[in-house]
């Protein structure tokens, strides 16, 4: 492993002081002269058609400036999601927007609008839509087959004889099933075959900052202040959605108050202030309320399913037959269910496996990837099944995970896909030691009054990075290195941490480095969005590549300026030096400008993206400008892994639990920034614990109307729901296909936390698997008292 100076060190990101002094400006913190405010009229019912809208009285209200209707925003065929619609497919979908001088006026104006709605059939529970004659969420069909919407109804016989709390198993959609190995032989070779109904609820993302945005136009150009997980990709999306050229959009999003996958490319709602502002000729601020965020923000698709798992006496999983029905929401196809198959294939490497999934459209809030999409659901659903099988066979769960652990040579799933690296055995072993698994495991089932001790663990693999993005750096005559980043600033610190790869490649002191991000007028390269755990991997690569490229340019420049061959020159400490002497970066920048051509950005590599080219061209002549595309080999899939172990006390009289210890270890390649990693890791683990503990939503089955529009009712975890200290560590071994050895870490901890908590509770309940998250006191007590779930049927929105 290379000896890094920056990689592997803990740094506080340079934007931290702004964040904690209140100087950091998020979207809602901007003001513009003459700014209007908009309020939305949204659908009161889950599926309907607007027959007519009369907003004349609203327009007459003093202070109302403009009204924006669906006819004025781009509309395409479903599943395209318009910003405003005449056929809402979920309760809370915006129909019309009013811009007024203030919010009170805008809200009062909304109350003056008359709308005539024609209610249409709606569906909340995916199983209802699969029944013969069941309602469809959309006029075009009820399920996705691959990316196509089609109609799928199961035969009545699928439902016959299936208990209300059991999973009916019908045919999946063609494009969404795969298998490998001999499944029946696998089950035949197993010492135990276990079957379980699976359940994971839908949960909203609920970032702290709602998707508020503010827009205005100047000289035909759109200025948009938004909240996004990417500057580069969101800007592109805004241009597409509003229908203007990329160069006509300026996107400002230096800070993002959380996204978790819900703001990957910004928000479709940004179209509203953009178009209203153009119509009204004044800036428009659209503050999104928490209730609106619940509806129009995004959510993780819930799942219902069934697993049949065969295990040998030594813990080896011989066969896994997985069937999943995904609650897709009303719009674009969600990949969660197919990812679930991949994740279980990689995490447990079954000898034979089949995955069959159906993604059903429902009239519930739109879904989007949520931190560990698919992984969280399947790990939290399947880990307790594995744990239960282990209990029945008398094998230690850690042993089961070790026996089934993937390694570097593993090829898994549908592909089968090779992976770049997997230090899973190391992670399991290290976590077992840190947690003191064998000793704590002894305490499993111990009674103390009404409390029972439970110990559980889960392994969560998740996709850890993309490649092929661009890097852009400038060495200016001030002697500083400017690293341009088009990723968002989500607070994961990766906008800064991945920039270190460029500084590292140039062996440049960090104090003189400036990371440039968050504002498209600052000339940003084509970067990935900060999602899918890809940033760390993708942008350490891109920045390393561009750092190396800048180094080459410096060497060539030095050779030209000072004589000798370029390869004889070295770059370190802010200087390029060799046989002919040395240049500081400041001098090099000046010489680069003087020479022009490829040195100052006037000539650029062929293979870079247009966005990068435009940015680099704009920077041309300002210093030594290097732009490069990540062309490093990436021949296998990159996966990261997190294992979590949890010990808790479950009170059988109240159904409440107290977590005593949470220990997690990651295989995320080389650690970029230990303190940020621990924060990311623990944060993810806690989010996962929250999903298993209390986080949920509730939609009334009769009306299809959301009842939990506020955080108080959705119940994400608070500081008191977890121990005051959690342990997170990493194996810190390098991935061979990343120049600094790093892999992404954003997502796998969530599944690990959720899975470990469910397993610990399952363990405390003596192996009873409560297949209905979140595991709130009502469910625990119902199982303890009556051995059944309280709702008695597989309801998806309780």
């Amino acid at each position: 492993m290379a000896d890094f100076k920056l990689i592997g060190q803990s740094f506080a990101p340079q934007d931290l002081v702004a964040k904690i002094t209140g100087r950091a400006k998020y979207a809602e913190d901007f003001r513009a002269e003459g700014m209007l405010f908009t309020k939305l009229l949204s659908s009161p019912m889950p599926h309907c058609r607007v027959r007519s809208i009369d907003y004349s009285a609203a327009l007459e209200l003093e202070g109302v400036v403009a009204v924006l209707t669906p006819d004025e925003v781009p509309q395409e065929e479903h599943p395209f999601e318009p910003a405003l619609t005449n056929e809402p497919v979920y309760e809370g979908e915006p129909i019309l927007a009013v811009a007024a001088v203030d919010e009170v006026t805008a809200a009062n104006a909304i109350e003056l609008i008359r709308v005539d709605y024609e209610p249409l059939p709606f569906v909340l529970n995916p199983l209802d839509s699969l029944r013969p004659g069941g309602p469809d969420a959309n006029t075009g069909g009820n399920v996705y087959n691959g990316r196509e919407i089609t109609t799928l109804k199961w035969d009545q016989s699928v439902f016959d004889g299936v208990g209300p709390d059991q999973m009916p198993i019908g045919p999946g959609t063609e494009e969404d099933q795969w298998e490998y190995g001999d499944l029946e032989a696998g089950f035949a070779n197993a010492d135990l075959v276990i079957e379980e109904t699976l359940y994971c609820q839908s949960v909203s993302h609920h970032p702290m900052e709602p998707r508020t945005s503010m827009a205005y136009w100047q000289n035909g150009k759109l200025y948009m202040h938004g909240s996004a997980q990417s500057t580069a990709q969101a800007r592109r999306a805004i241009a597409d959605r509003v229908g203007v050229e990329l160069d006509d959009v300026f996107f400002i999003a230096e800070y993002c108050g959380g996204g978790f996958g819900s703001k990957i490319r910004g928000s479709v709602l940004e179209v509203i202030p953009a178009l209203l502002s153009r119509k009204a000729g004044r800036p428009v601020m659209m503050r999104i309320t928490r209730a609106e965020e619940t509806m129009m923000g995004r959510a993780r698709p819930g799942m219902l399913g069934h697993a049949r798992l065969g295990m040998r006496r030594d813990g080896r999983i011989t066969a896994l037959d997985l069937f999943l029905v995904q609650d897709n929401g009303p719009y674009s196809r969600q990949g969660d269910s197919s990812t679930s198959g991949d994740v279980s294939a990689l995490g447990y490497t079954p000898e034979a496996m089949r995955a069959s999934t159906v993604s059903v459209l429902t009239n519930t809030p739109p879904r989007a990837a949520q931190r560990g999409p698919g992984g969280v659901q399947i790990v939290s659903m399947l880990a307790p099944v594995v744990s239960r099988a282990a209990r029945q066979l008398g094998v230690d769960p850690l042993q089961v995970h070790l026996v089934n652990a993937p390694n570097h040579e593993t090829e898994f799933g549908r592909g089968p896909y090779p992976i770049t690296s997997a230090y899973v055995t190391e992670a399991l072993t290290q976590c077992g030691e840190l947690f003191n698994w064998s000793e704590r495991r002894q305490r499993s089932g111990q009674r103390n009054g009404s409390k029972v001790r439970g110990v559980g663990m889960a392994l969560s693999p998740y996709y850890g990075g993309t490649s092929g993005w661009d890097g852009l750096v400038v060495i200016r005559p001030d002697g500083k290195l400017y690293i341009h980043q088009g990723v968002g600033n989500l607070g994961t610190h990766s906008v800064v941490d991945t920039a270190k790869a460029a500084a590292e490649a140039l062996d440049f002191p960090w104090e003189n480095t400036e990371v440039v991000w968050g504002h498209s007028s600052r000339h940003l390269p084509h970067s990935s969005s900060q999602s899918g755990s890809q940033t760390t991997h993708a942008h350490t690569r891109a920045n390393w590549v561009v750092g190396e490229f800048a180094k080459t340019l410096l060497q060539e420049l030095a050779a030209l300026e000072l004589g000798g061959s370029s390869s004889a020159y070295q770059v370190s400490g802010g200087r390029v030096f060799g046989p002919g002497g040395s240049l500081t970066f400041a001098q090099a920048a000046e010489r680069a400008i003087a020479r022009g051509g490829k040195f100052d950005g006037h000539e650029l590599p062929e293979d870079i993206n247009d966005m990068t080219r435009t940015s680099a061209t704009a920077l041309a002549g300002q210093g030594l400008v290097a732009a490069a595309k990540d062309n490093l080999p990436h021949t296998a899939r990159t996966y990261s892994f997190v294992v979590s172990m949890i010990e808790l006390d479950l009170d059988l009289e109240t159904g409440m639990h107290e977590i005593l210890n949470v220990t997690s270890v990651a295989d995320c390649g080389t650690v970029l920034n230990p303190r940020s990693l621990i924060a990311q890791g623990n944060g993810g683990v806690i989010q996962g614990i929250g999903i298993a503990q209390s986080f949920k939503w509730a939609i009334d089955p009769t009306w299809g109307v959301h009842l939990s529009k506020r955080i108080e009712a959705t119940k994400p975890p608070t500081m008191l729901d977890i121990p005051t200290e959690l342990i997170f560590a990493a194996v810190d071994l390098p991935d061979p296909q990343n120049p600094v050895g790093s892999k992404g870490i954003g997502e796998p901890p969530v599944g690990a936390g959720a899975g470990a908590l469910v397993c610990a509770i399952e363990d405390a309940m003596g192996g009873q698997h409560p297949s209905h998250q979140p595991l709130t006191p009502d469910k625990i007590l119902s199982i303890v008292e009556n051995d059944c779930l309280p709702c008695g049927r597989l309801e998806t929105h309780v």
Partner: protein
Amino acid sequence: MEKLDLRSRVERSVSRRTFIKGVVATGATVSAGAYVLRSSGASTASAQGAVERLVTLRVNGQDRRVDVMKQETLAMTLRYKLGLTGTKIGCDRADCGACTVLVDGVPKYSCSLLTHQVRGAEVTTIEGLANGDELHPVQQAVVDEAGFQCAFCAPGFIMAMVGTIQESPSLTRDEMAHALSGNLCRCADYPKILNSAMRAAEYMRSTTA
């Protein structure tokens, strides 16, 4: 005509219609330059005993003269009238804690307080902590621990920390967690936030000692 609209039930006797009339009548006096909340015309005449609209607030050690609507919350006044956008609104319903400020040293949700309720009180926001470039000990502690991720919750958390530590400088980690349990962090950076708070208490103790 009486029409009982239950969804927006006027407390028994005032009908929705009357209300809308009121809005129409007062709409005429909307002033430009007002942000989210209009600056005039909330009600036609100031009744006896009613509050005056023009008030002086003491915010971050300064007296600020400001025109405040009757129904205006402190969070909105701070953000939209006084330009103090460091105070964040995450839910506007006392469900998240991002808007926490100190009122006479006590942490409160500024989304759930009327501005008129803090007349005569000392309001401290995140902008009022640092002395120029010199960070408040609590802020310094957060920097030293690299607390927070997206940091939308940070101003609220930090104000809760300041209020808590000023009142009880020597809390245990558990007690500190309880004291900060009115602030939500969706990044769930709780362990690091607690580290920051414990370090902050230490800094505060040493500055006062």
